[in-house]
């Protein structure tokens, strides 16, 4: 009798252990799974998108701080990006400040504000020489960064305002027909109304290329250079919108 109880107990134990080990096989979706030599997945040289605070499942604040304090800096304001034989004139610091209150309305923290910014930008000349290829590049960029709101023909009928949750922007060939190249560039750089600043996503050369394509959608001749240059109303600036590094 005693033995029988013993057997039952042992059997029960085995059953419980078996069931336990089976359930433990069900994976945790938050775990990437087993790594071969785990330290190889965290570079010892500083790289982007590596959480240096996390060392083998534990969080080390000192490791994180070391990286933040020693290795992650934004470039000094006014830094001109060097890109091989790129167009230097394009990459010079942007002269015009953001609209007054842009830190509150568009989150452009620390960006110089200038109440005459837009007015001064009006007569800026596109520094990227016009060609059909540039216009094509502008179209590709437009379709990547603008089309979902402004629509294929710039009529303000993109897919995002199409939901009714987002306001439709005015049509390029309607109320915005008379916007000059400089004003278009200024708006892409600092945003306007509901539109945010796109300076962190599109670099200056790309913005000027988009300007050409927008001018085409306005129904204007993108190749015709703006002739009037308002030099006296263009003060030198230390650091433009690109000194601002997102947040």
């Amino acid at each position: 009798m005693n033995m029988k109880v013993n057997r039952m107990k042992k059997f029960g134990l085995i059953a419980v252990l078996g069931a336990g080990s089976l359930t433990s096989c069900v994976g945790d979706s938050n775990s990437p799974g087993l790594e071969y030599m785990p330290d190889m997945y965290r570079s010892s040289a500083v790289e982007a998108y590596v959480d240096y605070g996390e060392v083998r499942g534990k969080y080390d604040e000192n490791a994180q701080n070391l990286i933040v304090e020693k290795f992650t800096f934004t470039p000094p304001s006014g830094t001109i990006p060097y890109a091989g034989n790129g167009n230097v004139a394009v990459n010079m610091p942007y002269r015009h400040g953001a609209p007054v209150g842009a830190d509150k309305t568009h989150g452009l923290y620390g960006v110089r504000q200038d109440s005459a910014g837009l007015a001064n930008a009006k007569w800026d000349v596109n520094p990227v020489p016009f060609s059909e290829d540039v216009l094509k590049e502008g179209k590709v960029l437009f379709e990547r960064f603008c089309i979902h709101c402004h629509g294929e023909n710039g009529a303000g009928d993109g897919t995002v305002p199409g939901t009714g949750k987002y306001p439709p922007p005015p049509a390029y060939d309607g109320p915005l027909k008379d916007r000059t190249a400089g004003e278009i560039f200024y708006t892409i750089t600092y945003g306007k109304g509901a539109m945010g600043s796109h300076a962190s996503q599109i670099n200056k050369e790309e913005r000027w290329k988009i300007v050409y394509y927008v001018q085409k959608l306005q129904g204007n001749d993108p190749g015709a250079a703006t002739v009037v240059v308002n030099e006296e109303a263009a003060p030198e600036v230390e650091g433009g919108a690109d000194a601002h590094n997102g947040h």
Binding site: M3, R7, M8, K10, F11, G12, A15, G18, A19, S29, N30, S31, P32, G33, L34, M37, M40, Y41, R42, S43, S44, A45, E47, A48, Y49, V50, P99, G101, D103, K104, T105, H106, G107, Y109, E143, R144, F145, I147, H148, G156, T159, V160, G164, Y166, P167, P168, P169, P170, P175, G193, A194, M195, G196, S197, H198, S200, Q201, I202, G246, H247
Partner: protein, 451 residues
């Protein structure tokens, strides 16, 4: 009679006219604008900064005329729309208070008084028809149901095991009783282990074969499990914000590269900074499935105060969980593949337009995308996977050579192509299969990715 008739019809006409004018007066006590024209004008000129029914960059326009009449005058209402700065200059106190409250200059509108009437006929008659978001937890419901059905299966499995155990014990006891009745010797002190050994020896023929099969099966399973080390297929960790690629890239058709914009210039595709989210979410504060909860997290990170509609300057990082991991000893560059190679995102990341947060797609997911030229057989993000694609993908080198250019001026692939043309033997070998693959251009060199 005729006089009476005409008298009645005169009175009737008067009545109708009065009634109509009264009715129209009560529905719009100001000027009679044309709603249809107004809607077109509103969308073209005002819609970028104003909603009719709620505040955005500028205040809600519904009732704006009445607010002006109450605080200033109707005449100034028209002036404000045409040139707000001029009106502030004239010293109107309501104009100044509006400017101070909203903090941005309203763009002067080139519209006539009649057009303003049209616009406000539309605005004041506007009814918000946005459907309320469905209650949260809707999509989570299926998971709960699945979990509970899983639990039921486990309970059934345990019950079955108990039944099997009970039947086995009863059978053993019956056997023993049978043996005792037949007068055979029964070792009452035999332990479970001794019993098992005796039983295995008694049935050694098929027991041996079964054990051999079990050992082989276990080794195979173990080997297959070892092969999974370092394979992260289907990895989809929970993210700090329940973002949906399906909504943004699918339904709203926003280009992948709008948010992952460094993919054409950098090694990384980059997670967008919060300011990119805020390009839309300054205005869109309520999601279709998650309500305000998830979007409030973006606002918190960006330092956006939804009540005052302004940025506070207090920002916080969002700690996204990295999904696609490569070991430190592998170099991978997005721009090389996307910009130079012209590889579509879906070739390696599958159809993200059907996904919520990021997931490492399985080989099956990638092969399911019809447009993908390369069909894989190796697990995603393994070396075999890279190598396979480098072997199968065709590089269009012919078009890359700049006509008449010397080696130092030619394009990257142009140089390689020109060198290849000089070595007829290798050239023929490469062209045998009509494909100039990445591997043939050095994509299989160890040092391309490991250095």
């Amino acid at each position: 009679m005729k006089v009476l008739n005409s008298f009645i019809s005169q009175r009737f006409k008067l009545l109708v006219v009065t009634a109509i004018s009264l009715l129209s007066f009560s529905s719009n006590i100001y000027a009679e604008g044309d709603k249809a024209k107004g809607e077109v004008l509103f969308k073209a000129n005002c819609g970028a900064c104003h909603f009719p029914h709620k505040d955005m960059t500028g205040p809600a326009l519904k009732g704006a005329r009445q607010r002006w009449i109450d605080n200033s005058s109707e005449e100034n209402f028209y002036k404000w729309i045409k040139d707000s700065q001029k009106l502030i200059g004239e010293g109107d106190s309501y104009a100044s208070s509006l400017f101070n409250e909203w903090g941005s200059v309203m763009t002067p509108q080139a519209v006539s008084d009649e057009q303003i009437d049209d616009i406000f006929a539309y605005v004041d008659g506007y009814e918000d028809v946005t459907p309320p978001p469905p209650p949260t937890g809707g999509p989570g419901g299926t998971d709960v149901a699945e979990e509970s059905s899983n639990a039921i299966w486990w309970i059934i499995a345990v019950l079955l095991l108990i039944v099997i155990g009970a039947v086995g014990t009863v059978r053993g006891n019956l056997n023993r009783v049978a043996k005792v009745e037949a007068g055979e010797a029964v070792n009452e002190n035999e332990t479970l282990a001794q019993g098992a050994r005796r039983w295995a020896w008694d049935n050694r023929g098929w027991f041996g074969v079964t054990m051999l099969l079990v050992v082989v099966a276990l080794l195979t399973a173990g080997m297959l499990d070892l092969m999974k080390i370092g394979v992260f297929e289907d990895y989809k960790p929970e993210q700090p914000i329940a973002y949906s690629h399906k909504l943004h890239a699918g339904d709203l058709a926003i280009d992948c590269k709008y948010c992952h914009n460094a993919v054409t210039k950098s090694k990384h595709a980059t997670i967008p900074t919060v300011n990119v989210c805020m390009n839309c979410h300054k205005t869109v504060t309520e999601g279709t499935t998650t309500g305000t909860e998830e979007i409030a997290k973006i606002h918190d990170a960006a330092g956006w105060d939804a009540d005052t509609k302004s940025f506070t300057g207090v920002t916080k990082p969002i700690k996204w969980v990295k999904v696609h991991n490569l070991p430190d000893h592998v170099y991978f560059n997005h721009s090389q593949h996307v910009e130079v190679g012209g590889v579509d995102c879906a070739q390696c990341h599958g159809d993200m337009k059907k996904e919520t947060v990021a997931r490492v797609m399985t080989t099956a997911d990638l092969n399911a995308v019809e447009e993908n030229k390369i069909k894989f057989s190796r697990p995603t993000l393994t070396m075999g996977w890279c190598i396979e694609c480098h072997q199968l993908s065709n590089v269009d080198v012919a078009g890359s050579h700049i006509d008449g250019a010397s080696e130092s001026e030619d394009s990257y692939y142009g140089v390689i192509h020109q060198r290849l043309m000089k070595d007829k033997e290798t050239y023929q070998k490469y062209l045998e299969d009509d494909v100039i693959s990445v591997a043939e251009l050095g994509g299989w060199e160890c040092a391309k990715c490991h250095y």
